[in-house]
Amino acid sequence: MDWGAIFNNAAVELVSPTTAAYALAALGLAVHFGYTGLLNFGQAGFMALGAYGYAISILTFGFPVWGAFLVGVGASVVFALILGIPTLRLRADYLAIVTIAAAEIVRLLFTTNTFAAVTGSANGLSGYKNEFAALNPLADGSYGFGPFTNNAYDTWLRIVAWSIVILAALLVWQVMRSPWGRVIKGIREDEDAVRALGKNVYAYKMQSLIFGGVLGTIAGMIFALPRAVVPSNYQTTLTFFIYAILLLGGAATVLGPIIGSMIFWVLLSFFSGFIARAVEAGWLPFMTAIQGGQLRFILVGVAIMLIVIFRPQGIFGNKKELAFVR
């Protein structure tokens, strides 16, 4: 068995743009769920709006990169307002129901044939990368070392993706240690108490929903750049993977979503490489290669369960908090 290749492929995932995208989306969920206590089960919808907003702006309207970026962000602000206005005054579970349904509506709207000319229907969209590649200041050639060696475009993409993640992490860290963050965390604990102290809870929840949603949207754009935009990528399972990453790293932390995403993708790549080769080598005679591909998710699930059982606060979560979980 080629362990070198397995580890090499796993290491590649450590800094891949997809890992960055998941980290950013999980950071958005940390703002929603970890800090504010908002149960957003529609993060995949925010990501889809980012990916499609960016791709459609470039392909259909010929926008520059920054214009396409702003369209995606604008779309997610509108989406957050539509979700939040009717539900944020209600109990927390209503938001969960509405977000999960709204994200599916978004995905189905992008899938339906009615708008195929713009959305590409089930086949999705591709061919929107040139504009981003044109901004690349790096000369052609290969950069990096070992498993982290990439061509100029991929290196550029990684630099941009991780810069955005770092910037977003600093942003979240700063607002959460400010008085604004104190109100947000207070709302998570008991919104009536915060209301009784003269804070406009509804407005704060809306700001949080928009903030975390925009992070998810930008994550959707990063997610789209190394691949095509396909509607089936934005199913509810995507949201659940991001929740898994968040809980793995620690819900009300800044580093948790980032390290959580790295662990998730490295494990996923490791298991998929391992199983594929094990099937090839005849170690798993009862299994086809396709079944092996499914097995990796089971193994990742087990690994995450183990971490959550033995470290329920997540990797970066505060152990003390657990003593008071109701």
Binding site: L171, Q174, V175, S178, P179, W180, G181, R182, V183, K185, G186, R188, E189, D190, D192, A193, V194, R195, A196, L197, G198, K199, N200, V201, Q207, F211, K320, E321, A323, F324, R326
Partner: protein, 318 residues
Amino acid sequence: MSASAGLDSAAPLEPPVPTQKPIKTTGLHIGEAEPGCRKVDPILVVDNVRRTFGGLTAVDVDHVEVPRGAITALIGPNGAGKTTLFNLLTGFDKPDDGKWTFDGRSLAGVPAYKVARMGQIRTFQLTKALGLLTVMDNMLLGAKGQTGENMFRALMPFLWRNQEEENRAKALDLLTRFKLDTKKDDYAASLSGGQRKLLEMARALMSDPTLVMLDEPMAGVNPALTQSLLDHILNLKSQGMTVLFVEHDMHMVRHIADWVIVMAEGKVVAEGDPHEVMKNPAVIDAYLGQHHDEDIGEDPGTETENVSAIKELLDDER
């Protein structure tokens, strides 16, 4: 002598007495002390506020005024509608109809957070400490007009750092007064029930309110702490604040209240000076029901909680 007999013969526990002698404010009302009577200087005026839950009328107050700069107690048996009235007056619940003014401004339809910003701050019967925030953060949350509570200004700490330090000093001062300063870095969830009551009250004071509405501030607080709580409430008055509080402990009511409003079945049934109002037959009715037996309370075996409450009311030795 058996142990139980020893217990029986022990002197009854003395009710807590505030360490400072309360200075009662008098001359608050105009005319007879009757339900809905006018006050010389009312801070809160309630008119025809009604709230029903299905067929049940929880609150039906025709008219009531709360005097400014005094300590007013709102009493009444369980289910009288005291908490519901609090919720209505602070914007946490909406009445079927009615209007009320605070400091001359109409509050009907004003959301809870705006009511609080106007200086009418409440606490809750079921304490709402923010468990996974530290005691200090709980306190800081109470401060009004914080620059850093704006999302964009939050990104620029130099804009709010000074204000934060001032608030921190003020919070520490309040925490010291409430004997919670040693707990300031602990999670509020680690406090005892009584300490949470204290924290909630201290937190409410962070905003320098004009009217403090306390829903059963003493419930679950041990007698030693009760004493200091009584002092705190008296202090609020000497600092110029108005206090409206709900309380079941009649000793406490008698000791610190300048005025008492009695509710029963959603209505204000009596008002008056704490010593006088307890003798009002309407109050006795409220606690015992309309058709109470003439000679109840004679036989200790049949003594219900309401009867002992009434005995407490009438027991005017102090």
